[in-house]
Each structure stands twice: as structure tokens, then as C-alpha cells.
């Protein structure tokens, strides 16, 4: 057993845990935050994606004890009260999910991805921050599987939010 303290969606939580517990099971089984999903428990599907200190990560691959002192954001922490995060609103509007089981991971992954600078494997010019085209989004979102096959709509939803942000930045 180990004592750990971490912040989850802005709330400090202290727990005594079996050292084998993953961050994902900490969230789902110990804190009752079941929004983060378990699709494979092996880092192969992305359903468990959360933000650790603002960066996207597979919660099933992180041991909870290794997250002592860190800041975790889950899908439950994306909205601002009743006001949906722009990605959440875009997912609803674009019908970017069917069963909804991959959705929390897609949302956290997209939220993290929008803040990730730099080129990807499909970027032509490696010296510049590329625009988030559909092709870039597809590449950067490929760690999140969707068996319902909602990719076309997921890309549309993420693209919509990315374009809004780009316009805001340009307008400043």
C-alpha cells in the first residue's frame, strides 16, 4: 500500500492504495469517476485517455502511485459547470460518437492535441507549426480507436474547434 495525493479535476484527493492500481482504476474504482473508459488496459485503444499535467496520456498505462502530486483532468472535468467544452459541444453537434464508449478518450485526446505544437508524421514542412488540417487531425487522433466508426464525424468536430481557435488567435 502507498499513500498518494493528487489533484483530479481541480480537487485534491488523498488515498491509500495497492501499488498495483493503475491511474485508470484509481479513477474508476476508487474515485467513482467512471467517465474514463477501459477498452483494453494495455495502451492500445485510447479509451482511457486523460490529461496528466495538461498532456494527454493513457491512464491504464500509468501506475497511480507514479501520479503522486500530479494534476489529472478527466472528461468529467472538461465542461465549465453546465457549459460544455467547445469540443463536447462539437461532438454532439457533429454526431461524433455512437455508443459513446470511446468518446471520453477522444475528447481528452483532442483537448490535449489542440495544445500540442510541432509537426507530425504527415507534416510537409517540419520547420513550422502546421495548420490542423483534416489530415493532421486524423494522424494525431489515431491513438484513439472508435469501433463504431465515427472517425469522419470526430475529425469534423475537432476540425471545427481547431478552426475556431485558429481564427481567434489570428484575430488577436
Amino acid at each position: 500500500m502507498a499513500e498518494i495525493t493528487l489533484r483530479v479535476n481541480g480537487v485534491e484527493r488523498s488515498l491509500s492504495l495497492d501499488t498495483r492500481v493503475s491511474l485508470l482504476d484509481l479513477l474508476r474504482e476508487h474515485l467513482g469517476l467512471t467517465g474514463s473508459k477501459k477498452g483494453c488496459d494495455h495502451g492500445q485503444c485510447g479509451a482511457c485517455t486523460v490529461l496528466i499535467d495538461g498532456r494527454r496520456a493513457n491512464a491504464c498505462l500509468a501506475l497511480a502511485v507514479a501520479c503522486d502530486g500530479l494534476e489529472i483532468t478527466t472528461v468529467e472535468g472538461l465542461a465549465d459547470g453546465e457549459e460544455l467544452h467547445p469540443l463536447q459541444a462539437a461532438f454532439v453537434e457533429c454526431d461524433a460518437f455512437q455508443c459513446g464508449y470511446c468518446t471520453p478518450g477522444q475528447l481528452c485526446s483532442a483537448a490535449g492535441m489542440l495544445r500540442e505544437p510541432g509537426p507530425s508524421a504527415v507534416t510537409g514542412d517540419l520547420t513550422e507549426d502546421p495548420a490542423l488540417t483534416a489530415e493532421e487531425i486524423r494522424e494525431r487522433m489515431s491513438g484513439n480507436l472508435c469501433r463504431c466508426g465515427a472517425y469522419v464525424n470526430i475529425v469534423a468536430a475537432v476540425h471545427r474547434v481547431a478552426a475556431e481557435r485558429a481564427r481567434e488567435v489570428a484575430g488577436r
Binding site: 477501459k38 492500445q44 460518437f97 455508443c99 459513446g100 489515431s142 469501433r147 475529425v155
Partner: protein, 681 residues
């Protein structure tokens, strides 16, 4: 696309905020964790089970196995007869469950402390077309004749100007819904049982679970409000739910069981591999003179599941001679089951590939060949179609896709490293309907509609809300639909693409009854209405067009464009329908290019049993996938005028892609998936 009309999902907000609760996620007081243990041999028997060390692990509450078989009631599905016998029928069959205070302890005890010894026997797990134990099943899923024949097939082939005689294979495929199968079982002091399960039908699951456990139906309640996909694999109860129930009884506590992704490959069904021989004959003009379609497939030693692989061929094309047959062999494998469009999906890969080969042989455009062989009535039965707009789908698709600019010659378009080609194939799926019941009640200034339907991602909750609102002549925001609970009025499964037709009929009738009864309450049971049947052959149709680019050096296949045009009756919600169609097509793309479960002949298991090795399409694999439909009015279906749309999207996709790969490269790949290795060999 977001500007197109159509109500968004009523549970959308819950799903994007993480508040939608799936089976394993209910907060059940005092729940313990069960970890299923699987047989490491493909055939044989258990000789020893020693649970002493496992029970000594601190935190372990119980071990259940065939050492002390838990009493069961009447078990029709032998896959659910858990822990009843020391016999092992397949690698990965569940042989024990360890229950503990935490998931970590249960797994530790199961993997390090529970000792089970086996006497292995030689096993037979490989499907082959010359297997000595092949037999012809009488019936194929669910109750079609295994064999049909009309006219003289051999004479038709002998007289033909053009013939095709080829064998096509499809591998074992796994449904792989993103939510692993899971259940929480909680016994009440009065001996009744509540199960939170991930199912495609609470009523049917409740009935089966009650029978297996020897309980009355009213002693079991199945709750399944949100389901993380199923694609057929959650259509019947799986062993894990019985395991959870007997484990909970043994531990005296509620028990949660979630299968691991790896365990799902053995315990939740899969699509049988198929070996299909298709023979086609056509006259000088391209008119079919004979069709012969045989499928070789497998089932387990436990029970016969015979996929209806060649049944779509009974529906598709006019020919004076038509024969469809199935052959099955019982192997030491898990029982195959339903996976999205069982039958139609692999069957149409073979038939539509063969049609492309015939078009090439006869020098006829593949769209025109299909139009030419359009039947006046259902070919096998002779019954009239309630509606059939396949030709309209082909024409509309050809127009949108730019088919008229297509040069038919294979292997002649090259852009840099990429060989480019296009292909077409048809889709079909039956329009089924099953009895269901529903109630509609005026409550709190609006209406509540109750039906034990399931929303596995199809949008059923939303579509039923719309259907009820229309029947009640009110707006959808005044209607609340409750589904996903066996305590609600009995309803059929979310399967066979018949959810909307079955539940929608019951909802409409209940709403009509409410209006007739003074606006307070109405109930309906559609058993009689559905049993009346129809004199018509009722099917949805579609045409799929694919553009592919094949890397001439590596054999990598990309699919820049997929277009599906469907004729599926009235489309109730265009936004959700499009998602269903493109979702099916996306799964079809995976089937065409990457999905394959490898059987290890030596150990008898599925080798690549996880998502790192079994590849489903990822975001980067899916480019421009679009689905549209033509207006189709069909008064012979149901009050909505709708045909099912959940499965037809995956039917024909793989053939369209394979045909495009041939057009791009001049190489005909008849064995799925179309991997670089197959293209380069």
C-alpha cells in the same frame, strides 16, 4: 455536414460529459471483483483443481470451478453451462473464477496461486475445404434452409458464354466493441437477482439468465442503459454474466466481472472464417445463366452455429438456375456467433467479387452488369419485393462518384508511387421485424414511453423519441423514452437491423392507444401484427463505390474515397442514419484491409488477441467516407416505413475495395484481408 437536419442524440450530453453509465460502472455497495480463469488447452479435461493457495491469498473471498459445480437450471446454450464439467471444448473456455476484495487481488490469485492441471488431447482447429467431417447443415442462422436449388445449374454453366469459377476466403473476425463485456451481479435477500450487463436486449437476456440459473423470469432484472457497442457479440448472454452470478452467490456479495480484451477473443463470439466457391455463368449479353454459391464454415463441438453465408445470393440477381449451399465442420474452437451482418457480409464479399470478375470476362461495365441482371421478383422465392431500388442506388452512386469517366482497364493509372483504381459492389440486408410491447403514459405535462429496447450506439433512444412524438403529434422534447431495463415492457433484440422496426411499431401502437383512451395511457403488444407476416420479400439495398491507391513498392492500400448509396425505406433521422451507414462502411474498410484473427494450429487459440495485433481501422485509415440515400416509400413494412440500417453499411464494402484494388493493380485478391504481403506475393 453539421448543417443537415435531424435531432441530435438525446443522451449526447451524458455521453460527452462522462455521465453515461455502462455495465461495470454502477456503484453497487460492497461489490467484490471476479477474475475469470481460462483453459490453456484446446481439448481435453481438467484432472486437478487445487484452490487452497488461492483461497489463502489475503482478500480472496471464493473460487468457483467444476471441482464443486454450482447448481444451474436449464441451459440451452452449452457456452453458458459454466463450471459444470471438467471437459474442455476450446482454448480459452472459462474454467474457474476467483473472487476477491479488489481486482488486483483476484487477478494475482488467479494467475499465481490457483493450480489447475489438465489432460490435453489432440485438437483440430483449422478450417479447410476438404475436411473429412464437413457436413451440410439443415438450417442456417437463424432458420433458413441450408440449401436451396432451382433450375439446372450445371446446364446453365455449360451453356454459358462466360463463366467465373473462383474461391474466396474470409478470415475469422472479432466484433471488438470498445466496451468489453462486463456484468455486475447482485443477489437480493429474497433470492432475486439484479444484473447490470452490457447487452443488446434486456428482455431476452433476462429470460436466458433466469432459465440458466433456475429462477423465474420475475426474479431477475437486467439493467443495461448504455452499451459500448456490441455488433452482435452482446446479442446473447455470454459466460461472464453467469460467472458473475454464481460468483456472487458463492461470495455472498455482489460481484463485478469485466472480461479483459484478450478474454473477449475466446468468450464473446466471432465471425466464422469462410471458404466460398462461387460459379457464375452468363450468356453473350451478360445475362446470368447460372449462379452456384457454396460456403464452408466452422462451428464448435459445443453447438452448431451455421452462418447463413450464401443467403444474400438468394436475393440478388435474376438467373434461371440458382443454387446456394453451406458446409460446416465442428472444430475444437469457441462457438462463432453474430457479427455485424452475419451471412450477408462475408457472402457478399464473394458474390460481388465474382460479379466483378464476370464483368471483366464479359467486357461489360460492372454497374451495367448488375443492372442487366436485376430481377423482377425475389430470385429464390419468386415473391415480389415490397420495394427494391438497387438500380437507383447504382445510378445515383455512379453519377456522384464520376463513374462515367472510368477507364475499365486494370493497372494503368499511376500517380508517382501510387496505382489508382475504383470499384463498385452492391449491398443488401433483410428488413426484419419482431414482436415487442410498449407503454405510453401522460406524465408531468409530457409523455413517458417505456420499452425494453437497447441503444448500443444506434441512436435507438433518439429515434424512438422522434417516432413517439410524431405518433402523439407533439414535439420530441415533450417525450421521454425509457429503455435498457428488463422491467420495462418486453422487447426484441437490437440485432438483425430490426430495432427501429420492431420497437417503433410497438411505440406507435402504444401512442395510438393512448390517444384513443382519452390521452392518459396506452399499451401495445405487436405479437399479432408481426405474426401476420407479409407476402412480400422485404430487403434494403445499396451500392458502394471505392477509390483506392496502392503503393506500387510497398503494397500499402489507402482508401481516399468510399461512397455508399442506400435504399432503406424512410430514414427517420438523417444525422444518425448517416452515422450508422458510414460506421458500417468503416468497419467494412477494416475487414477489407486489416482485420484477421489468426488461429494458432499448435495451441489452438487466437494468436493476435488484442488491439495491437488485431487491427481495426484507426482514424488515419479513414478518409472521405460518405453515405447518402434515395427516397424510398414502402407501405409494406411497418408504421414508420423504415428498413433497418445498422448492418447494410458493412455489406459490400470489402468487395468494392477489393474490386478497386484489382482495377488499380491488375491483381485480384480473393483472400481477405488485402495485406501488402498478399499484394506483393
Amino acid at each position: 455536414m453539421s448543417t443537415i437536419g435531424g435531432m441530435r442524440r438525446v443522451e449526447g450530453r451524458e455521453k460527452v460529459t462522462g455521465r453515461a453509465t455502462y455495465a461495470f460502472e454502477y456503484a453497487v455497495e460492497g461489490a467484490a471483483y471476479g477474475h475469470p480463469v481460462q483453459a490453456p488447452i484446446a481439448r481435453g479435461r481438467i484432472t486437478t483443481i487445487d484452490a487452497e493457495a488461492a483461497l489463502a491469498v489475503p482478500g480472496v473471498l471464493a473460487v468457483v470451478s467444476s471441482a464443486d459445480p454450482p447448481p444451474l437450471g436449464s441451459v440451452e446454450d452449452p457456452e453458458l453451462a459454466v463450471f459444470q464439467s471438467p471437459q474442455v471444448a476450446y482454448h480459452g473456455q472459462v474454467v474457474a473464477v476467483v473472487v476477491a476484495e479488489t481486482a488486483e487481488i483476484a487477478r494475482e490469485a488467479a494467475e499465481t496461486a490457483l493450480r489447475i492441471e489438465y489432460q490435453a488431447e489432440p485438437h483440430d482447429v483449422v478450417l479447410r475445404p476438404d475436411h473429412p467431417r464437413l457436413y451440410a447443415p439443415e438450417r442456417v442462422n437463424p432458420a433458413f434452409p441450408g440449401r436451396t436449388e432451382k433450375g439446372d445449374v450445371e446446364a446453365g454453366l455449360a451453356d454459358a458464354a462466360y463463366t467465373v469459377d473462383q474461391t474466396y476466403t474470409t478470415p475469422a473476425l472479432h466484433n471488438n466493441p470498445m466496451e468489453p463485456h462486463a456484468a455486475i451481479a447482485a443477489w437480493e435477500p429474497d433470492g432475486s437477482l439484479t444484473v447490470y450487463d452490457s447487452t443488446q436486449g434486456a428482455t431476452a437476456h433476462r429470460d436466458t439468465i433466469a432459465a440458466v440459473l433456475g429462477l423465474r423470469q420475475d426474479q431477475v432484472r437486467v439493467i443495461s442503459r448504455h452499451v459500448g457497442g456490441g455488433f452482435g457479440s452482446k446479442g446473447t448472454p455470454r459466460p461472464h454474466v453467469i460467472v458473475a452470478a454464481v460468483a456472487a452467490r458463492a461470495a455472498g456479495r455482489p460481484v463485478k466481472v469485466a472480461l479483459t480484451r484478450q478474454q473477449m477473443y475466446d468468450m464473446t463470439g466471432y465471425r466464422t472464417p469462410t471458404i466460398q466457391r462461387v460459379r457464375l455463368g452468363a450468356d453473350e449479353d451478360g445475362r446470368l445463366t447460372a449462379i452456384d454459391h457454396d460456403a464452408v464454415e466452422q462451428s464448435s463441438t459445443l453447438k452448431e452455429f451455421a452462418e447463413q453465408t450464401t443467403t444474400p445470393t438468394r436475393v440478388m440477381y435474376a438467373a434461371p438456375a440458382l443454387r446456394t449451399t453451406h458446409h460446416l465442420v465442428r472444430l475444437d474452437v469457441p462457438t462463432p456467433s453474430w457479427m455485424r451482418a452475419p451471412g450477408e457480409c462475408p457472402g457478399m464479399f464473394a458474390l460481388e467479387s465474382a460479379m466483378d470478375e464476370l464483368a471483366e470476362a464479359a467486357g461489360i461495365d460492372p454497374v451495367e452488369l448488375r443492372v442487366l441482371n436485376e430481377p423482377a421478383a425475389e430470385p429464390e422465392s419468386g415473391r415480389p419485393f415490397s420495394s427494391r431500388n438497387l438500380v437507383a442506388c447504382l445510378r445515383e452512386g455512379a453519377r456522384r462518384f464520376g463513374w462515367d469517366r472510368r477507364d475499365p482497364r486494370p493497372g494503368v493509372r499511376r500517380e508517382g508511387r501510387w496505382l489508382v483504381g475504383t470499384g463498385v459492389a452492391c449491398s443488401t440486408y433483410p428488413a426484419y421485424r419482431r414482436p415487442s410491447s410498449a407503454t405510453a403514459v401522460a406524465e408531468d405535462g409530457g409523455y413517458v414511453v417505456r420499452v425494453a429496447a437497447a441503444d448500443i450506439g444506434t441512436g435507438a433512444r433518439t429515434v424512438l423519441t422522434q417516432i413517439a412524438a410524431e405518433a402523439l403529434n407533439t414535439s420530441p422534447d415533450r417525450v421521454r423514452v425509457e429503455i435498457g431495463d428488463s422491467d420495462l415492457p418486453r422487447a426484441s433484440l437490437a440485432g438483425g437491423s430490426m430495432g427501429t422496426a420492431s420497437w417503433g411499431t410497438a411505440v406507435v401502437r402504444a401512442c395510438e392507444a393512448l390517444l384513443k383512451n382519452g390521452g392518459q395511457e396506452g399499451r401495445a403488444d405487436t405479437s399479432e401484427e408481426v405474426a401476420a407476416g407479409s407476402a412480400f420479400a422485404r430487403h434494403a439495398f445499396g451500392a458502394q463505390f471505392a477509390e483506392v491507391r496502392v503503393d506500387a513498392d510497398t503494397g500499402e492500400v489507402r482508401v481516399p474515397r468510399l461512397l455508399g448509396v442506400f435504399a432503406a425505406g424512410r430514414i427517420v433521422n438523417p444525422v444518425l442514419a448517416r452515422s450508422q451507414f458510414i460506421g458500417g462502411m468503416t468497419m467494412g474498410l477494416g475487414m477489407a484491409l486489416m482485420e484477421e484473427s489468426f488461429v494458432d494450429p499448435r495451441f489452438g487459440d487466437f494468436l493476435n488477441h488484442d488491439l495491437a495485433q488485431y487491427h481495426v481501422a484507426a482514424c488515419a485509415d479513414v478518409q472521405d467516407v460518405e453515405a447518402v440515400w434515395i427516397d424510398e416509400e414502402d407501405p409494406y413494412l411497418n408504421p414508420m416505413g423504415s428498413k433497418g440500417i445498422g448492418e447494410i453499411g458493412i455489406v459490400g464494402t470489402a468487395a468494392a475495395i477489393a474490386n478497386a484494388v484489382y482495377h488499380a493493380t491488375g491483381r485480384r485478391v480473393r483472400d481477405l484481408p488485402i495485406t501488402p504481403a498478399r499484394l506483393l506475393s
